[in-house]
Symmetry: C2
Subunit: 361 residues, 2 copies
């Protein structure tokens, strides 16, 4: 470390956090406290606190003195002392199975956006979860004393959820359940899948395959239901051989379409479990020399940002991810401030027709 003072501070014992102290703001090595501000402004700590929080009127002269002292000392309130006293930590916990999926990304973006105005910050715990692991993670967050929790695709059952919500406000996605300290948001997966399937039917497809999502996943089951419903409504007989088990990930979509192809069953369109699954399926078709949409029409679900830029751009069912994130954050803030969260429903799912679907040849 050339030209950087007398060697290794910072190694050794836990560092005593020296503050930046150029332009002579803090001669001492440690952060200014409210008491020091009070001393500098010749008032009592209580007064400083009151000024900071606007808890009570104080004389203008003192207020000015205090503000001057704050600026001079570069004072910043210590959030831990604050939290200890007030019982709030100003953090909200976010639980998600896959922090690197674009799905979570979209929601998280909305979440951070909506949280930006407030004084709360998100703490993210990731990693794959089954019901049990998820409960454990909530426990972790609880012992960190987060002020609220958002769970992105919730696997807890309602009972557990209610239980946790007695301790701390919770907002979850993928469930429809409201009550004391709980807010949840659920999209109409069945309707989305129905819309998508109907779109394919209207184009003239009848042999429509469905790559179904994880068997234990409610969203997946609902989408499959929507698919069947649309077929039934048009009087198209469901060929069970056209429904193949897949998952929400691209490799699973690839594997699924390969199995379907290998089965020899004829089909002219595919409804994938979600966009990522569709990506995988697309590749599988491509490998077989089948073109989208000329040979096979392909529909996804989610409308990930990337789906506008696949070749061709993917027809899909739009989930307003950012909006979900924003609403989650807002509802949680409502809960935290003791306001009733809004009762209006989620924005509707919406079919986005792009270029991966066409009339069958």
């Amino acid at each position: 470390m050339p030209g950087d003072g007398p060697g290794s501070r910072r190694h050794g014992a836990p560092p005593p956090l020296p503050r930046a102290e150029r332009d002579g703001r803090r001669p001492s090595g440690t952060a200014a406290t409210l008491v020091e501000v009070a001393r500098a402004a010749r008032v009592s700590p209580s007064t400083v606190s009151r000024i900071l929080n606007g808890t009570a009127r104080v004389a203008d002269a003192k207020a000015r003195a205090v503000h001057a002292a704050i600026a001079r000392l570069g004072y910043r309130p210590n959030p831990m002392a604050h939290g200890l006293r007030k019982g709030r930590r100003m953090t909200i916990g976010v639980l998600a199975p896959e922090v690197d999926s674009p799905f979570f990304g979209g929601i998280f973006r909305g979440l951070t956006e909506a949280l930006a105005g407030s004084d709360y910050v998100p703490v993210v715990l990731g990693g794959p979860t089954d019901r049990e692991a998820e409960a454990r993670r909530v426990g972790d967050l609880l012992s960190r004393r987060v002020d609220g929790i958002v769970i992105v695709t919730c696997r807890l059952d309602d009972e557990e959820l209610r239980d946790f919500a007695a301790t701390v406000p919770m907002v979850v996605s993928g469930r429809s359940l409201r009550g004391n300290g709980i807010f949840s948001m659920k999209l109409d997966n069945a309707l989305g899948a129905e819309l998508a399937t109907r779109h394919l039917l209207e184009l003239g497809h009848t042999r429509i395959a469905h790559l179904q999502g994880p068997p234990d996943h409610r969203d997946a089951a609902e989408r499959a239901e929507g698919y069947r419903r649309a077929l039934r409504a048009r009087g198209v007989k469901l060929d069970p051989g056209l429904v193949v088990q897949s998952g929400f990930l691209a490799p699973e979509g690839l594997a699924a379409i390969e199995r379907l192809l290998a089965s020899g069953r004829r089909f002219t369109a595919v409804l994938a479990a979600n966009d990522e699954c569709a990506y995988g399926a697309h590749l599988g078709l491509h490998r077989r020399g089948l073109r989208v949409p000329e040979d096979v029409s392909l529909v996804g679900f989610d409308d990930l940002p990337g789906s506008r830029f696949t070749t061709p751009p993917l027809t899909t069912v739009r989930q307003p991810l950012e909006e979900i994130g924003r609403r989650a954050a807002r509802s949680l803030l409502d809960l935290l401030h003791g306001r009733p969260p809004p009762t209006d429903d989620m924005p509707e799912v919406e079919l986005v027709v792009r270029e991966s679907t066409a009339r069958p040849r």
Copy 2:
């Protein structure tokens, strides 16, 4: 809210956080404290603390009594009190321009993974940043008293960085700078671009276009430099008309390739600023009826997870994003524990040849 007690708790004043109290663990409505544990176990608070932290030996009998009390009361240490006393908050701040990009996603995943074992949790602040906004955000994190900071693509200049690092350990990506409380990680962008370009040259391409990233972005500039270096090394004259300004986002890649196409300049291969830019470019080519790789070879940079599943899968330069995240976390933990972070270099960039490149026709 059917069957859930006498109406609206939780609305009204800030809720007093009632703890879950079924199975009769906490008759009172509030969380157990260390003092209560001490009382229940008939020892002093100090002793409980010592047992919890292993600070000193205590008699086995007492230790057992304390553990029993802890279990019975469902005691969980209050992190705010702990933080106040110890001066540590057990959180690390993460700064990133776009929390929903797969790029950040990959890094963040590695980060959370490596943090999972420790007692630290990440707090994410997102949103687009220029240098100034980034400094402000670091300030925000500082006033939240995070114990360390990770900046994902750092725009601060070295001076500022050093300054901040005097207050709190920092790990940044996209910079090569180490010193007191600073650790940084930088990939050899120039080398990566050079590898990619050389690959195209070796396939026989000579008219290779480059969609250059944001003009103010060092990574972008370095990649452009690597591109030029590779051409020079092979004695291929650089046609400035083949270098067009783009960005790191898909729409920008699309716009750039359209401009290039409109210019009428002939080219048989494209080196994109990064993978997302390549996606956009791919779409632009597709729209013009140009096929990848038959008509135009295409190379990206980053190796996002999605790039394995584009059609065709994208040849690209691999950045080990998760590994970067993991190392960032580990180095920060090292810094925090007063251990010197590892001095070994980053893993090398690596060309991943898939199916978007081929010999020119």
